[in-house]
């Protein structure tokens, strides 16, 4: 009981987004360097995938989307320092809610519009019928 108590006290109470843990300049540089390296690698991969004919063509859009999501994750962790640490819960929860809204807006729009495209008569036929 009491040693848990001390743990509670030693832990930083909260972390702002963009905050880094207390560490030396070299360690911080390393974090940004790793982030830059991973981001450049993922960017290079997606530009390469977009132009290549070495892979099965229909897989290219999926690969580009997956690489983009991976790179956004890299940016969140290494540049914005949003982590899953216990003291980062508020920031992660806000991010999760934002992502929910983003997926509702984009997914919902695409879903509804493709449904309309399937179910509605093409516009020129509709015009002809009204004449």
């Amino acid at each position: 009981m009491s040693d848990q108590h001390y743990e509670l006290h030693d832990m930083a109470p909260d972390v702002a987004p963009g905050d880094e843990s207390e560490s030396s300049i070299g360690a911080k540089l390393l974090v940004y360097g790793i982030g830059l390296g991973l981001a450049l690698l993922l960017t290079a991969t997606s530009f390469f995938i977009a132009g290549t004919d070495l892979v099965w063509q229909p897989s290219i859009p999926v690969a580009i989307i997956v690489l983009a999501i991976a790179q956004m994750g890299v940016h969140l962790v290494f540049f914005l320092h949003i982590t899953t640490g216990a003291d980062n819960t508020n920031n992660v929860l806000a991010l999760a809610f934002g992502l929910l809204i983003v997926f509702l807006v984009i997914g919902g729009s695409l879903w509804i519009m493709s449904n309309l495209n399937h179910n509605m008569m093409p516009m020129d036929q509709l015009m002809r019928m009204q004449r």
Binding site: Q4, P17, L36, A50, T89, N90
Partner: protein
């Protein structure tokens, strides 16, 4: 943390001890400011998601005009991406310098961030001017309207970010690393890194998917 708190509550059902030990008063101002700005950034990302949704719906509606595959120059986009990534890294260097309270390195890193951001903007400006001069402005088709809205909105954010960056350089120059200046710089760094995240979505969805299709 929650485990510790649960164990704590179990041994002390009325939380009498927790009241004096667990609640150390309101969070420091830096935490509150950073969290508030993070909420703003998320709302900004939600706004961008609306532009992305409209672009995704309208990307095929070219009204007989050119499609993305005819217009986009991927080499330019690759250069823009590298410039923006490097400027994000330089902004990280500025955060490290601000934490170490080193004015010289801070100003150098911020200058580098600014130059890389300006390079990005000038390439994007040239691309837009070129499209408009060839008659493919935002009024040409629904696809081009959505394209200019989405990419232009990101460009406007970068321009605003550069104005903010210059303000931060001037404030650190005049006032030094005071606590409130540090908080403003924390918000600026968040903003700049978030713009990079949005650019990742832009070059993937607009340019790479547009020229692959």
């Amino acid at each position: 943390m929650s485990m510790a708190a649960a164990a704590h509550g179990h041994g002390d059902p009325h939380h009498l001890h927790g009241l004096e030990e667990g609640h150390a008063g309101p969070a420091p101002k830096r935490i509150v400011t950073g969290f508030g700005f993070w909420i703003f950034l998320l709302s900004d990302i939600v706004m961008f998601s609306c532009f992305f949704a409209s672009y995704a719906v309208l990307s095929g509606k070219t009204a007989g005009g050119p499609s993305g595959a005819d217009l986009f120059d991927l080499r330019n986009v690759a250069i823009e991406t590298v410039l923006l990534l490097l400027s994000s890294f330089a902004c990280g260097l500025a955060s490290i310098a601000a934490d170490a309270r080193n004015r010289l390195w801070f100003q150098l890193a911020m200058l580098l961030t600014c130059l890389l951001g300006l390079g990005f903007l000038s390439i994007e400006g040239r691309e837009f001017a070129d499209l408009v001069s060839r008659g493919y402005g935002p009024t040409r088709s629904a696809f081009l309207s959505a394209f200019f809205t989405l990419v232009g909105c990101h460009g406007l954010h970068v321009s605003a970010g550069i104005l903010w960056l210059l303000t931060m350089m001037a404030q650190v120059f005049a006032k030094g690393f005071r606590a409130d200046i540090q908080r403003r710089f924390l918000c600026f760094a968040l903003f700049w890194h978030a713009l990079d995240i949005i650019w990742v979505a832009v070059f993937s969805v607009v340019y790479l998917l547009g020229s692959a299709a």
